[in-house]
Subunit: 174 residues, 2 copies
DNA sequence: TATTGTTATACTCTATAACTATA
DNA sequence: TATAGTTATAGAGTATAACAATA
């Protein structure tokens, strides 16, 4: 199609190249699609919302290079000193084999350390390093002032809390 | 969730092998861990809830062997006849390259079919087969009577709707 | 015998580049 | 040249089996 010269018409995207009437059967318009009962499927919105929230988390905490999973590990280590890998991993729903590489990453950045337990020499007691504590503190501030604050702004504090309660209930009891 | 079949559930587990007093520094109890501010992190509960809901979806619709993603595709094809792969994939947040194998799976089970468009021979118009429509109808019934019904039972219809609205808002505007 | 951390492995999801055939 | 479908590929995330050290 050598239209380019005369042009001007094809702004960005010509969605409708002169439809031959009801050509392809029932094809409606060329615009947005009908979501149908997808709009009432809780799991669908749940997944899309989760992706958005994680995406925003990453953005907000980008200067510290922490994923939601890594953040949750640091948080748990801080609140639960003296625990081993199995306990931390189980609590977060991470399988022990998969937790190894994750810890390797955190440890190589000097955010936490493994210490052989004196009681049970099979266990690795996990501890936050000073740097780990510092990074966690900064991350918590970013999450609170940027990430969660944005959610508060969108939903309102009361709704945000109601949402959290319901999600926690599903995670717990469903 | 992690918990597969073998059940990692903290149910059966002797957490305290005769602690020698305050041995390992600050290690508190041997029971469940402190969640700390993880309990207030929306993203955390969002993710755990999403996994539970998808898990239940799989169970409820197991006789039809449909994943949430496959179900959403069938639903969309039914409501939007005459659309091509790119349009369906984009609407569901699936990348075109990844949509190919997914369609292959559905088409090999005779649930949908690709038809070359007469207007634009590059496009594949997607259509549900009769079997696809039948399976979709059965899936919708299972989802409504088992899956969503269980959520209604847990939260109550009003709360369930409020939850859905908030999740949709996050997915849309966040 | 059982458990902790680990390795190896595999399977799913997701993401990007590049090819082909059409336009 | 641009777009639709496709291929190849790479990277996360997640799952299971099995081994060494220790209990």
């Amino acid at each position: 199609m050598t239209v380019s010269k005369t042009a001007t018409l094809d702004a960005a995207k010509p969605p409708r190249p002169a439809r031959k009437d009801g050509a392809d059967g029932a094809g409606e318009g060329g615009g947005p699609l009908q979501m149908g009962e997808l709009a009432e499927l809780l799991g669908y919105s749940l997944k899309r919302a989760q992706l958005k929230v994680f995406e925003d988390f990453l953005r907000c905490v980008a200067p510290l290079q922490l994923t939601p999973a890594q953040f949750s590990v640091l948080l748990l280590l801080d609140k639960n000193p003296g625990r081993n890998q199995t306990e931390i991993a189980n609590t977060l729903g991470i399988l022990r084999p998969n937790f190894v590489a994750m810890l390797d990453g955190l440890e190589s950045r000097d955010l936490c350390a493994r210490m052989r337990s004196t009681n049970d020499r099979r266990s690795h007691i996990l501890v936050l390093t000073d740097k780990g504590r510092a990074v966690l503190a900064r991350a918590k501030k970013l999450v609170a002032t940027k990430h969660e604050a944005r959610l508060d702004e969108l939903l309102g504090p009361a709704n945000r809390l109601a949402l959290l309660e319901m999600l926690a209930k599903i995670a717990r009891e469903f």
